[in-house]
Symmetry: C2
Subunit: 207 residues, 2 copies
């Protein structure tokens, strides 16, 4: 399997490795398919999408969950933008449990939730750095679609619990782009999300 750190120059069908606790940004054309792979199992990947031709149009958890009337999304479900256009559609899913509630982990997440004194910059920092060359500022980062993230919800109390992902080594989720997109993906930096160990994420774009 070929791997590369230069996701921007990615050839169709080439698999790219995102090292643990890092992130990548890249573009996709309408009709291309993105496959996000968990190579070792129990790892999370935060996914963001922006309309390449108008970066103010961005993936929206609120629109997507509202139109689906469901928290857990899987094969067949569209991911909507803040303007209610379909950006991506899930066309394959070997796991069936992902999260669209929580924002990317950040310095503040590690400070507030983990009590770290010298907190890591997290997925938020990795997404900010990766998206900066595309002209997207950190204030424009919304709730990400968190591939493989397993957030259990108690319907009575509303309590959220971040459990280890259900993904096993080699599991994947595939999205088809319904517009030209500027994307970002991470290999998540939060121990709670990943079953206690940092691991890479692989991805591939197919025509």
């Amino acid at each position: 399997m070929a791997t590369s750190d230069q996701s921007e120059q990615l050839a169709p069908g080439q698999t790219v490795m995102i090292p643990s606790r890092s992130g990548r940004a890249f573009t996709m054309k309408k009709g291309q398919r993105l496959t996000v792979i968990d190579p070792r199992g129990e790892q999370v990947s935060d996914l963001l999408a922006f309309n390449t031709h108008d970066l103010d149009e961005v993936i929206s958890s609120g629109r997507t969950l509202d139109y689906a009337s469901r928290i857990y999304l899987t094969k067949g479900d569209p991911l909507y933008s803040n303007r209610s256009n379909v950006m991506l559609r899930i066309i394959e899913d070997s796991v069936g449990r992902h999260d669209f509630l929580l924002t990317p982990c950040s310095k503040d997440t590690f400070r507030i939730i983990y009590g770290d004194k010298e907190p890591h910059h997290g997925c938020f920092g990795n997404l900010s750095t990766a998206l900066m060359p595309y002209g997207i500022s950190s204030d424009r980062i919304p709730v990400a679609f968190n591939c493989f993230m397993n957030v259990a919800i108690d319907g009575t109390t509303g309590q959220l619990c971040v459990d280890p992902p259900k993904s096993k080594a080699g599991d994947h989720i595939t999205f088809e782009a319904e517009m030209d997109l500027t994307m970002a993906l991470t290999a998540c930096s939060a121990l709670q999300s990943n079953g206690g160990s940092f691991k890479p994420i692989h991805y591939r774009i197919d025509d």
Copy 2:
């Protein structure tokens, strides 16, 4: 009870009526308290907050739910910005059920969910119009804190169900501002959220 359509010139302690299916924007100083009142019962009010001194800092469902580890927020809970600063804190709550998952109803909500052929502009349109004079564009409208909105969640299937609010006539929720804020509030335009009838919302700001 004094009512006024000119929320911008609101005197402390004065109660303002937001007519059914409309919205208002206004500013609050740090330390002031906002009380949102449901005068007739079973009505929803979408709430947005921006940092007056830097409008790119905005209320964030993802940060707030993550740090609370809870979907349902009530007395004592802080509402965080996208930069992980506390914008507002809930200091009183006579209902105990609000939503922070779904975006404001919009023309697209009525088209996609209700199948309306000539859809109403919804809370999204009302928020856009109210915030425009403050220099906030519609693309900057995130998931709102939906006062009194009653979204039931099936923890197993993830199914969401918008039930009638639990609020009775005169019920309220009070927030304290922890920074200078530019706010917007609506009297919600979606029948599903409101138990089937459009009603006004009242609010009051106290020093």
